[in-house]
C-alpha cells in the first residue's frame, strides 16, 4: 500500500513540472500555429542560467528564475522577429526544419561555450525530504511543484483577465478578425513566442536542482512536452495540463510497477504519442485543427 501512495505523490509532483514544461509550447502553438521545436533549448538555457547564477554568484535558482526567464524570452522574441516570422506563411515542413535547425544550432553553441560536461546545482533543499512514516517527499520536488503551480496560475489569470491576455486568445481563435479589432497580430505572435520561451526557461531553472544539466538535455524534454501537447489537444491550454498529469502518472506507474521500469518509463511518451495519433488525433480537449 505504501508503494501506491509513494507512486501517487511522485506522479502528482512530476505532473506539475510537466505542466509547466509543456504549457508554453501549447500556448505558442495555439497562437502562432508553429510548433516550437527549439522549446527544449529554452529549457536548457534556463537550466544553465540558474546553474551559473548559483555557481558564480551564489544566487538560488528560484531567485534567478525571473531574470533568466526574461533574458531567454527577450532573446527568443528577437529570434522570432529575425527568423521565424519569415516562415509564418510557409509550408509546415519549412517551419519544422527551421525550428529544428535553430534547436541544433543552440545545442551546439551551448556545447562550445560550456562543454558537454554534466552539471548540477546543489541547494539546501536538494537532498532533504519530508518523511511521513514510509512516504518520502523530497523538498526540491515540492518546491518545483509549487513554483510550477504559481507560474501556471499566473498565466491563466493573465490570459483570462488582462487586456493583452484577451487579445492573445482572440488572435489564437481568428487572426484576421483580431486585426479588425485593432490588435497588432505580428506583435502578439512575438509576445506569445516570448512567453513560450519564458515558461521554458522557468522550467529549466527549476529542473536545475532536480536534473542533470547538459547542452543536450532539451531534446528529450521537447519530445515529452510534444507528446503532452498532442495528448491534451493542440491549442488547448487546459488539455495540456490534463495531458501533463496523464503522462506523469503513466511514467511513474511504469517505473514503479513494471520490472526494470525505470528504463521503460522514458519510452512511455512515445507510446502515448503513437496511441493518440492513431486513436484520437485531436487529443483530449483539442479542437480539430484542419491544415490544408
Amino acid at each position: 500500500m505504501s508503494l501506491f501512495w509513494q507512486c501517487l505523490v511522485d506522479s502528482l509532483l512530476l505532473g506539475g513540472l510537466y505542466s509547466l514544461m509543456s504549457i508554453g509550447l501549447s500556448l505558442g502553438f495555439g497562437v502562432t500555429r508553429i510548433i516550437n521545436f527549439a522549446h527544449g533549448e529554452m529549457i536548457m538555457f534556463g537550466a544553465y542560467g540558474a546553474y551559473f547564477g548559483s555557481v558564480l554568484l551564489g544566487v538560488d535558482p528560484l531567485l534567478s528564475l525571473p531574470l533568466v526567464a526574461i533574458l531567454v524570452a527577450v532573446t527568443a522574441a528577437v529570434v522570432f522577429k529575425a527568423l521565424i516570422e519569415k516562415v509564418l506563411d510557409a509550408p509546415h515542413i519549412n517551419q519544422i526544419l527551421l525550428l529544428f535547425g535553430i534547436s541544433l544550432a543552440l545545442q551546439n553553441v551551448a556545447a562550445i561555450l560550456w562543454t558537454g560536461d554534466a552539471r548540477s546545482v546543489s541547494t539546501p533543499y536538494s537532498l532533504t525530504a519530508f518523511e511521513f512514516e514510509t512516504l518520502l517527499v523530497p523538498h526540491g520536488r515540492v518546491i518545483a511543484f509549487a513554483t510550477a503551480v504559481v507560474l501556471i496560475v499566473a498565466l491563466f489569470c493573465w490570459l483570462r483577465f488582462s487586456e493583452l491576455g484577451r487579445a492573445t486568445r482572440a488572435v489564437a481563435e481568428n487572426g484576421q478578425a483580431a486585426t479588425l479589432m485593432g490588435i497588432n497580430v505580428s506583435r502578439m505572435y512575438m509576445l506569445s513566442f516570448g512567453i513560450n520561451a519564458a515558461l521554458g526557461a522557468a522550467t529549466g531553472a527549476i529542473s536545475a536542482f532536480l536534473l542533470t544539466i547538459t547542452p543536450f538535455m532539451g531534446f528529450h524534454m521537447l519530445i515529452k512536452a510534444f507528446a503532452i501537447v498532442v495528448l491534451g489537444g493542440l491549442g488547448s491550454v487546459t488539455g495540456t495540463i490534463l495531458g501533463a498529469f496523464a503522462l506523469a502518472f503513466a511514467e511513474t506507474w511504469v517505473s514503479y510497477y513494471v520490472p526494470e521500469g525505470n528504463g521503460w518509463a522514458e519510452g512511455v511518451a512515445f507510446v502515448v504519442l503513437l496511441c493518440v495519433l492513431i486513436i484520437r488525433p485531436k487529443g483530449i480537449l483539442g479542437q480539430a485543427v484542419a491544415v490544408h
Partner: protein, 244 residues
C-alpha cells in the same frame, strides 16, 4: 456634405487573380451607401481592401482626408473605420461580453468602453441576456448582432457592413436592419454590402452597383431601381449599363 471615405481607381485581388478592376466610390459624413452586386462581383474584396486585410495593387483610398493605404491594417480602427466582416467572424470560444470588449481594444475607444457597452446592449438587448455565453454557441442571427455590436464598440465614425443578412431568417433580417437604421440615425456613416437589395434599400440613400470588379451604375436608390441597372448587375448582363 463632406466626404468621409473616397476610393479612386481601386485595383485589388489575390496573388495573381485580379478581382477589382476599377472601383471608385465615396461615402459622405452621416450617409448610408449600399454596395450591390452578384456573388463574386468584388464586394467583399472591396471591404477587405478598405480594412487592409489585403493590400491593393493600385488606386487610392482616403478616409477623413488621410491616405488609408499608408496606415497599417490594425491601426485603421483607431482612425474610426470598423468592419463587421462577412460570415460574422466572432471569436467562438470567448464570451459575448469579452467579444464586445475586444471590439474596443483600440486606444481611442478603450477609456469609455463601459458606456459604449451599455449602448450596444440597449441596441441589442439579446446580447445583454447572453453576455456570459460563448459566442460560438449562439444562433446565426445573434452572432450577427454580436458582430455588429463588436464593430460599434470601437466607436467608429464609419461602419462597414459585409452582408449582414447572409443566412438569416426574414424576421432576423428585419430586426437587424431596424438596428442598423438606428445606428445610421445616430450619425455614423455606413457602407453596406448586400445581396438582399430590398433590405439594403430600407436603410441606404445611395448605392453603387458593381459587376466584374467595376462600378456599373451609381445614384440614389430611386434612380438605381428605375434605370434597371441593378437587374443587369445581378443577372450579369454584358450590355454596358447606363449610369444613372
Amino acid at each position: 456634405m463632406t466626404t468621409l471615405l473616397n476610393v479612386e481607381g481601386l485595383r485589388a485581388g489575390y496573388q495573381d487573380s485580379i478581382v477589382l478592376q476599377d472601383i471608385s466610390l465615396s461615402v459622405n459624413q452621416g450617409e448610408v451607401v449600399a454596395l450591390l452586386g452578384a456573388n463574386g462581383s468584388g464586394k467583399t474584396t472591396t471591404m477587405r481592401a478598405l480594412t487592409g486585410l489585403i493590400r491593393p495593387f493600385g488606386g487610392k483610398i482616403t478616409f477623413a482626408g488621410q491616405d488609408l493605404l499608408a496606415v497599417e491594417p490594425h491601426k485603421r480602427v483607431d482612425l474610426g473605420i470598423a468592419l463587421c466582416p462577412e460570415g460574422r467572424q466572432v471569436f467562438p470560444n470567448i464570451s459575448v461580453e469579452e467579444n464586445l470588449f475586444l471590439g474596443s481594444f483600440c486606444k481611442r475607444s478603450r477609456p469609455d468602453r463601459k458606456q459604449t457597452l451599455d449602448s450596444v446592449y440597449s441596441l441589442f438587448p439579446k446580447l445583454a441576456e447572453r453576455r456570459e455565453q460563448k459566442a460560438g454557441l449562439m444562433s446565426g442571427g445573434e452572432q450577427q448582432m454580436l458582430a455588429v455590436g463588436r464593430a460599434l464598440m470601437s466607436k467608429p465614425t464609419m461602419l462597414l457592413l459585409d452582408e449582414p443578412s447572409l443566412g438569416l431568417s426574414p424576421k432576423m433580417v428585419q430586426i437587424l436592419f431596424g438596428a442598423i437604421g438606428q445606428v445610421a440615425r445616430s450619425g455614423i456613416s455606413i457602407l453596406l454590402v448586400e445581396q438582399n437589395a430590398q433590405a439594403a434599400f430600407a436603410v441606404a440613400s445611395r448605392g453603387y452597383a458593381i459587376s466584374m470588379g467595376r462600378v456599373t451604375a451609381s445614384g440614389t436608390i430611386t434612380e438605381l431601381t428605375k434605370s434597371g441597372a441593378l437587374q443587369s448587375s445581378f443577372l450579369g448582363s454584358h450590355q454596358p449599363a447606363a449610369t444613372a
